[in-house]
């Protein structure tokens, strides 16, 4: 197997549940070492795609290979860590016992690694699983996905139910996985959750992949909100028609607008006046993301 074998290779991948469409004609490649954010609203087809990659469900049409292998090969699943979107953990069994069982089936994991992950995520392994809260179940799910240090992590809505502190820790874990050259596919409803760790994002809607974007490129296209405050009222004409400036609103001594691309023209125009205060928000990728949503509908 060459180093360049795609981790995910899907061609015309289609899944119908009876007559209901789950996923239509997905063609996608994910390369080794990449973190891929898989975004879409409820019912878009994210879980369907992920279940196809893991051979939980079988495609109606199309081809899919994972880590260069047929998804039906049981051995390939040993190289994958999987967090289900609808994680169910039940019974009187303690979380630690369940993790030990999973570790054994996957060929063994040092106990120290399980403990280390539990500590990072602040998970209690001594509680019967049915008594765990949603977020605490999610932590167990994350531990079992990460613990055998798989080449490829498939995480279906990994942050759902986690508190902000644990979310940060989780994102740090994803960065470490990327730093070690391994690959991650994670789904989410919101770009904000994945934009800081993803190299690329794919947007799926109504069963179709409507866009795949490089996050850096997306950020360049991003719309920025800018606010300028002057020491005296400014004339509207001085700012009208500037390249890249949109939604211009001037109220007395303050100016609000959004900027598409470079802020250069605006800065130069503002330099003719006395600027007392300036606010520029983080590029709002969410906004671009939402335009994809509305375009496709």
């Amino acid at each position: 197997m060459s180093a360049m074998t795609a981790v995910v290779q899907a061609e015309g991948l289609t899944k119908y549940y009876g007559r209901r469409r789950g996923l239509e004609d997905l063609t996608l490649e994910i390369q080794p070492g990449e973190v891929f954010g898989y975004l879409g609203p409820n019912g878009a087809g994210k879980t369907t795609t992920i279940r196809l990659l893991l051979d939980v469900i079988r495609p109606t049409r199309g081809l899919v290979r994972v880590l260069g292998e047929d998804t039906r090969t049981p051995a390939v699943r040993n190289r994958i860590g999987y967090l289900p979107g609808e994680l169910a953990l039940e019974g009187r069994e303690k979380a630690r016992e369940y993790l030990e069982f999973l570790a054994k089936v996957r060929g063994g994991v040092p106990a120290a690694r399980i403990d280390g992950l539990a500590e990072r995520l602040d998970a209690d392994l001594g509680v019967p699983m049915r008594k765990l809260s949603k977020g605490n179940k999610q932590k167990i799910g994350l531990i079992q996905a990460f613990m055998h240090e798989p080449e490829f992590l498939i995480l279906d809505e990994p942050t759902s139910g986690l508190d902000p502190l644990v979310q940060q820790e989780f994102l740090a874990m994803v960065r470490e996985v990327r730093a070690s050259g391994r690959t991650v596919l994670m789904s989410s409803h919101v770009l904000a959750e994945v934009e800081h760790v993803s190299d690329r994002v794919g947007i799926v809607r109504g069963g179709r992949l409507v866009a795949v974007e490089n996050v850096a490129a997306l950020r360049e296209k991003a719309v920025r909100r800018v606010e300028l405050h002057f020491d005296a009222p400014v004339p509207r004409e001085a700012f009208e028609g500037l390249p890249g400036v949109r939604d211009l609103r001037i109220e007395g001594a303050s100016l609000r607008c959004t900027i598409d691309g470079r802020p250069d023209a605006l800065v130069k125009a503002a330099a003719k006046f006395t600027v007392v205060h300036m606010v520029s928000a983080e590029p709002d990728l969410e906004e671009i993301f939402l335009t994809y949503y509305s375009e496709a509908s």
Binding site: D55, V56, R58, R77, P84, L87, E90, L102
Partner: protein
């Protein structure tokens, strides 16, 4: 995987084994007093179960001898039926229940072949039922010895093996339906329907020409026909039960290997 399967079955198995053992100890023990006054009991029984109902109970012939009593009261209906339902409960835990609960999804994403998974679940069912059969056998034999019932060890073993095979057959029916559709209700319906209808066919139905032939598809026929308590091992009948179980297992393996999980 087998070890874990057994763990998952454990509670259901222990419960049923204890229940059936208690039932056996009690009913076999009661024989002591029946033997004391056979006339009273046989007349009372005939009076209590007239006509068709007596057919349903397997005739209730001669239940004042040790063998006859065991045959008609213990091995005719109650114990095998309890074992069948024990097998159903346990077999439902193999695939259908975890699939309904959503826990099966993670299991099938482990590096284990789907066919292997079904086989391991079946192995757990066999071992679990075997353990329950062994315990209940020892209880029955122990009580029968204590009250000097006069039933030979190997005859009792032959009868108890029949119970095990019958339970295993119906358990595998449940496993196969669960493997094919992933839900408990259809599995329970098929087993319940087949077990009850099958029993009626070989008892009351025996005298009704129109449905008498149905006995060939009733597992009860192969269980009851050989009368192992009085005649010893009915090898042929038991082989039919075992072979049918094997066929069901094969369909379970093939259907689970083919389908989507959790949809």
């Amino acid at each position: 995987m087998i070890v874990r399967t057994l763990r998952e079955y454990r509670r259901a198995l222990v419960g049923w084994a204890v229940g059936i053992s208690a039932f056996l100890a009690m009913y076999v023990g009661v024989y002591a007093s029946i033997r004391e006054s056979p006339e009273t009991y046989s007349q009372a029984a005939v009076a209590k179960y007239p006509g068709a109902l007596r057919d349903l109970m397997g005739g209730l012939e001669d239940f004042t001898t040790g063998t006859g009593y065991l045959q008609s009261v213990v091995y005719q209906l109650f114990v095998p039926m309890m074992f069948v339902f024990a097998a159903l409960t346990v077999a439902n835990r193999a695939i259908a229940q975890p699939e309904e609960a959503g826990t099966l999804e993670l299991t099938v994403t482990l590096p284990v072949d789907r066919r292997r998974l079904v086989l391991d679940r079946f192995a757990g069912l066999v071992l679990g039922l075997l353990a329950a059969a062994a315990v209940t056998f020892l209880v029955t034999y122990g009580v029968a010895q204590t009250i000097e019932m006069g039933v030979p060890f190997d005859r009792l073993l032959a009868a108890h093996t029949g119970v095990l095979l019958l339970a295993l057959f119906f358990g595998t029916v449940a496993l196969a339906v669960g493997a094919a559709v992933g839900r408990r209700a259809p599995a329970s319906a098929v087993v319940g329907g087949w077990a009850v209808a099958g029993y009626v066919v070989v008892t009351i139905g025996r005298n009704v020409d129109a449905i008498a032939w149905l006995k060939w598809v009733s597992p009860w026929h192969y269980y009851l026909e050989g009368k192992p308590l009085s005649t010893g091992w009915p090898w042929g009948d038991y082989l039919v039960l075992a072979a049918a179980t094997a066929v069901l297992l094969l369909t379970a393996v093939l259907s689970f290997d083919r389908r989507d999980v959790g949809v």
